[in-house]
Amino acid sequence: MVNVNYFEIFGLEEKFSLELNTLTERYQTIQKSVHPDRFAHASNQEKLLAAKKSTLINDAYQTLKNPLSRAEYMLELRHVSLPNEQASFSDNAFLMRQMELREMLAEVKFADNVESAVFEASQVLEVEFEQHFKAMQVALIDNTEASNKQASELLRKLKFYQKLHVELDRLEDLLFDD
């Protein structure tokens, strides 16, 4: 099971849209038979093997569960290389928008009503994330050389949105927690 296909592990078709409940149920079914707890009283060899399998199953599940890592994995399977994080971005409009959004987050804490400002910011991020996400989904389904390249560009943009979302979360913690 060295280079196994994660979709095959769970007996799923290699498609971007998958039924999360089915994935989770199958994941749990498999873990029940390979988790190290099943082998707590077994020989050391079986313990090691169980730990190895269980680790692989966890990795496969986490990769497929999250839509962005699932997309990344599918592109990997299709031998589409992802532009690395430091590579320069040619889409200037997108970069401008990112700067605007960053400014929006920086302004949140000075708003008259901080709570509603956080809410509005999260709405803005969500709408734009969804737009890109839907486009990536279509590109992945098309599965041509050009569409895969496009999907990989969109995935890279989605990761920017994900980072903004994490920052908003952190901001929220800072503002409302201590």
Partner: protein, 620 residues
């Protein structure tokens, strides 16, 4: 003459006996041991019918006292009487002294290996915990009348790697076979969940003497999945007592510093007040003054609640964050389990009730629920319930990462990742011709190295000299099902492998454990050689049992030759394990392992397929 018995082919010759397994709740203030007897989990009492063991160890002239016997010395002899060792375990000296500046102990040793100077010599916090574990293990062996197969020991979900490793070291020192370290909140969910087969999101609110944990679990068809954990490893009911002490001091017009014995008396008064105010509205206090007079006063429930409100609110904020981490809302939570003696405080219950908008579960004694859950899990892990459908999936509580240029932390495994897990990340050299690399392993959520917990440092040498950025150093983090970390590093671009396994700096080194085992009184008579032989014989028995069972179940996966081959080497192992050489037994075990490696792998893959196909049939 009785007839000789012959077992069915392929069946174990050992009668299928019930294995003795225990669950231990190793608490900050109190510890308990429980077991499953005739299908029922219950705590085990000592000969005086006490099941709660105060987590106190006192080092006296000629003896080491544990529990209630030690507790009385915590007032008269605080320097030699260690209470709440759980707060010290796996921590650096600097960390301990910042968090608990007024401890009465004489600390010694270096920052990474703090010890306490006592009348019986220097004592490490791991040894204190080992005393408690050993005491409970012996209590269980006496009560159950046999040798223990193993124990499940609970730890706060928020414990970092060093604290978990140290707890496991303590168990090793106590001579216990650890089946699993289990998160306390998960244990509590097991205690409740098994009886009532529920599905949905469960919150476990655990406020003990010294720690607070909140865990969000998902329960589905016998699978407990920890979605998120949070909390504060230095917040608990003891802090309620402490704010009460400060309040009494202020009211009575006393001023610090006060003598150790007056502080202890005030603390006792505070504890009584806290407990009394759980059921009454007002409590009277009498405090002896230095001039021989007494000060009398009273504290109302409202005053007490006002004092502890900030502490309780802090726990609710942690609940909010944990829900967010788990990506669920308070409305999704189906049950709230209350754990820990401090959840008896009415304000804690009402605040939890209004936060989660439901009445929390309190039907199992909140002091015993963790030990009971641990015992249920121990019973399963020992193999007493082969048909059990329960599976616990835990997560790591804090992110793990490495130091990179500029004192920044690069996260390798994010917190709340399901374990076991392995993640690798590649790094490269900074200078031309660089042949070594310092690897610094950290745990925590912050971005700066200084704000995270340093777990270990090691160096990777013999990197072939190359241009800066040309080397590919692959660092792999592996976390096992107990939440324990192993890190390996390897230079891979030239095929030169150099790797190292690390243990956290604050745990004990393996040779230290061996030394302590040799030195400890309990093991003085037991020759190390004999101990090693015994360990190998136990492993040999496990190997024979599991391979025989595998052959009888799945021999169709092998050719007749392969079966014969395995049977031959098994017979050799059975013979060798009767003899007196640990090394010889180990060598034959290794031989069996090599012969059966492919078979074991095939079996596990087959079981996955079987599990999945059974599943598909269910779906139809």
């Amino acid at each position: 003459m009785a007839l000789l018995q012959i077992a069915e082919p392929g069946q174990s010759t050992v009668p299928h006996d019930h294995k003795l397994a225990i669950g231990i709740d190793l608490g900050t203030t109190n510890s308990l041991v429980a077991t499953v007897k005739s299908g029922l989990a219950e705590t085990i009492s000592d000969d005086k019918q006490r099941d709660i063991l105060p987590s106190v160890v006192s080092y006296q002239e000629n003896e080491i006292l544990v529990g209630d016997e030690a507790k009385s010395f915590s007032i008269s002899d605080p320097e030699n009487t260690i209470v709440s060792a759980k707060r010290l375990i796996g921590r650096s000296l600097a960390d301990i002294q910042t968090k608990y500046p007024s401890l009465p102990y004489q600390f010694c040793g270096d920052d990474s290996h703090p010890s306490i100077q006592t009348r019986s010599g220097t004592i490490n916090p791991v040894q204190v915990s080992a005393q408690l574990l050993q005491h409970l293990g012996q209590r269980a062996e006496q009560a159950l009348g046999g040798e223990l197969t193993g124990a499940v020991i609970t730890v706060p979900a928020y414990f970092d790697d060093a604290q978990r490793q140290s707890t496991k070291d303590a168990a090793k020192l106590a001579g216990l076979n650890v089946l699993r370290l289990l998160n306390e909140p998960t244990a509590a969910a097991v205690a409740y969940g098994l009886d009532s087969k529920q599905e949905g999101i469960i919150a476990v609110y655990d406020l003990g003497g010294g720690t607070f944990d909140i865990s969000i679990l998902r329960l589905n068809k016998g699978v407990f999945e920890v979605l998120a954990t949070g909390g504060d490893s230095a917040l608990g009911g003891d802090d309620f007592d402490q704010v009460l002490v400060d309040f009494i001091i202020e009211r009575a017009g006393l001023s610090r510093p006060l003598s150790t014995s007056v502080e202890r008396q005030l603390l006792e008064q505070a504890t009584q007040t806290k407990e009394a105010l759980s059921s009454s509205e007002i409590h009277k206090i009498t405090v002896p003054l230095a001039n021989g007079d007494e000060w009398q006063g009273e504290i109302s429930k409202a005053e007490f609640e006002q004092l502890i409100q900030p502490l309780v609110s802090k726990t609710m904020r942690a609940c909010r964050r944990a829900l967010k981490d788990a990506e669920v809302s308070a409305a999704d939570v189906k049950e709230v389990v209350m754990v820990g003696g401090s959840t008896r405080v009415p304000l804690v219950r009402t605040e939890a009730e209004s936060f989660f908008k439901q009445t929390p579960l309190t039907s199992i004694d909140p002091d015993k629920v963790v030990a009971i859950g641990a015992a249920i899990q121990a019973d399963i892990l020992a193999g007493n319930k082969p048909d059990s459908d329960v599976l616990l999936l835990d997560v790591i509580p804090l992110s793990l990462g490495l130091e990179t240029m500029g004192g920044l932390v690069e996260k390798v495994i994010a917190r709340n990742t399901t374990i076991p897990v392995a993640k690798a990340q590649e790094f490269t050299t900074f200078k031309d011709g660089q042949t070594a690399m310092a690897i610094h392993v950290l745990q925590g959520e912050r971005e700066l190295v200084d704000d995270c917990r340093s777990l270990a440092r090691f160096e990777l040498h013999d990197i072939p000299p190359m241009a800066a950025g040309a080397a590919h150093i692959r660092v792999t983090f592996k976390v096992d099902a107990d939440g324990l970390l192993a890190v390996t590093a390897m230079e891979k671009s030239t095929g030169v492998e150099a790797s190292i396994e690390v243990k956290p700096s604050f745990g004990l080194a393996d040779n230290e454990i061996t030394e302590m085992l040799q030195a400890s009184v309990a093991n003085a008579q037991e020759d190390m050689q004999a101990r090693m032989l015994k360990e190998q014989q136990v492993e040999a028995a496990r190997v024979i049992e599991s391979v025989s069972a595998a052959l009888s179940a799945d021999s169709h996966l092998l050719s007749t030759d392969e079966v014969a081959d395995i049977e031959k080497v098994l017979a050799e192992l059975a013979k060798v394990s009767q003899e007196q050489s640990a090394d010889a037994v180990e060598a034959v075990i290794e031989k069996v392992n090599v012969k059966t490696a492919a078979f074991a792998e095939r079996r596990m893959d087959a079981s996955i397929n079987k599990a999945l196909s059974g599943h598909t049939v269910d779906d139809l």
